[in-house]
């Protein structure tokens, strides 16, 4: 009996140590993109509670989450997608904007490369001003790592904010493209930050977008 107990405990500690080593992958520290200057791209906070589809947490990214019948999209092709309408607040020189955000689990995710995220697609329009599209890859690896250590160590080691935008795993870039109005032809960058809720209910997000006008061609 003692031998079995020691064997089970050894295996359990081995699994915990293995997961800790996996999550501690140093690649995760080098994957994020630097933040945008707040004076040029002020962060707009929003709640993404009003969504349809998957919850978008780590369990969904690992494929072990159950479906929430109240919000899930039942179409087979949309089971790993989250979509919703978001209102970005006014402030810091910009009016409120209406936006659509669609996230789809990235098929390029890899547990060995510390990549566990979604491809996020935005369409944003400011009334009377114009609209932009944006796409980015949001890597939730560091949030998964800190959540694991918080669970194992029994402390509150979650950071207040997680900058999640990282270069897409496959070829491609996180980028902004002007669509309509005065932003037509603009290009730019996007960053997203995730604020984990300490009480376990929902999360808050913030998005920063910096756009540049198209270069002027000399005559």
């Amino acid at each position: 009996m003692m031998r079995v107990l020691v064997g089970v405990l050894g295996f359990l500690f081995g699994v915990i140590a293995g997961v800790a080593l996996l999550l501690g992958n140093p690649l995760a520290y080098f994957r994020g993109l630097p933040p945008l200057p707040p004076d040029l791209a002020p962060a707009k906070s929003y709640r993404w509670d009003d969504y349809r589809g998957m919850r978008g947490g780590v369990a969904d990214l690992l494929g072990i989450a159950g479906r929430d019948a109240g919000v899930a999209l039942m179409d087979p092709a949309l089971q790993r997608v989250r979509a919703g309408i978001v209102v970005l607040p006014a402030g810091e020189g910009t009016p409120a904007a209406l936006a659509l955000k669609v996230s789809a689990i990235a098929e390029e995710n890899s547990l060995w490369r510390a990549e566990l995220g979604t491809h996020d697609y935005w369409s944003i329009t400011w009334p009377g001003e114009g609209g932009v599209f944006a796409n980015a890859y949001s890597n939730q690896w560091t949030l998964a790592r800190d959540s694991f250590f918080a669970l194992v160590l029994g402390n509150d080691s979650l950071a207040a904010a997680y900058p999640v935008t990282a270069p897409p795993p496959a070829a491609g870039v996180a980028a902004v493209t002007g669509a309509t109005g005065r932003y037509a032809g603009f290009t730019g960058e996007i960053r997203e930050t995730l604020y984990p809720a300490k009480d376990g209910r929902g999360v808050d997000w913030a998005v920063s977008i910096k756009v540049n006008p198209p270069p002027v061609a000399p005559r």
Partner: protein, 234 residues
């Protein structure tokens, strides 16, 4: 005992390594792309949205707004009357398979569009294939309006009311362009950019609304047709 603990400890680490290697991370169900190649080049692909059934309602959205109210839409209007509306749909391929999610953002006024017209941004996300970003000037104001229903404020979309149609079964939404776009099509609809499988593609598109049925309560059924023509490096 120490040896047993050490061996099982290593077995635990090995189990994690094996799980990390062979864990079946989620993948999207993917349908074959139903594309055609026109004689003068490019790739033509049609996407279809049926209204009202392909509208993606918000969770707990009330369905008692009357027959003309649309689900899954939002309207934002500033004090100058410049309006933006957002709509979410399931996106189908030409074979009527639901392949993705489509978002339509239409805006009026200011720098966006001339008086009485709107400009629209279509976001087409096909999981596993990527996304297409489309932009166009509309031939008329296509924004969803805020109205009042029996149970409070409701969103009203022009094509979902029978009065919009006036005996015409089909409406081209995309405004004509003064100059032909890629492929010689005179449309203001532009494929601005794509990601993943659509990366590096540009081109043109047109949006058409087809009326299929007028209901006795004044509401309609129909379909939105997005015909895209994409070319590499445009």
């Amino acid at each position: 005992m120490k040896r047993l603990f050490f061996i099982t400890f290593l077995a635990g680490i090995l189990a994690v390594a094996l799980a990390a290697t062979f864990w079946p991370l989620p993948r999207h169900l993917r349908f074959h792309a139903l594309t055609t190649v026109p004689p003068d080049g490019g790739r033509q692909e049609e996407f279809v949205i049926h209204w009202p059934e392909d509208r993606i309602a918000r969770p707990d959205e009330a369905r008692d707004g009357g027959p003309l109210a649309v689900l899954g839409a939002a309207v934002l209007e500033d004090s100058a009357g410049r309006r933006v509306s957002a709509e979410l749909f399931r996106l189908r391929d030409a074979g009527d398979n639901v392949v993705g999610v489509a978002g339509r953002l239409a805006g009026t006024g200011g720098a966006i569009a001339d008086r009485g017209r709107s400009a629209t941004s279509w976001l087409l996300v096909i999981p596993g294939r990527g996304a297409l970003f489309l932009g166009q000037n509309d031939a008329f104001d296509t924004t969803v309006r805020q109205g009042t229903g029996p149970a409070g404020p409701v969103a009203l979309a022009p094509p979902q009311a029978a009065t919009f149609w006036n005996d015409r079964p089909r409406v081209r939404v995309t405004a004509m362009a003064p100059r032909p776009a890629a492929g010689g099509v005179a449309t203001s609809g532009r494929v601005l950019r794509g990601t993943s499988e659509f990366a590096g593609l540009g081109g043109s598109f047109t949006e058409t609304w087809d009326l299929q049925e007028v209901n006795a309560d004044g509401s309609t059924r129909g379909r939105i047709l997005l015909s895209t023509l994409t070319l590499a490096g445009t």
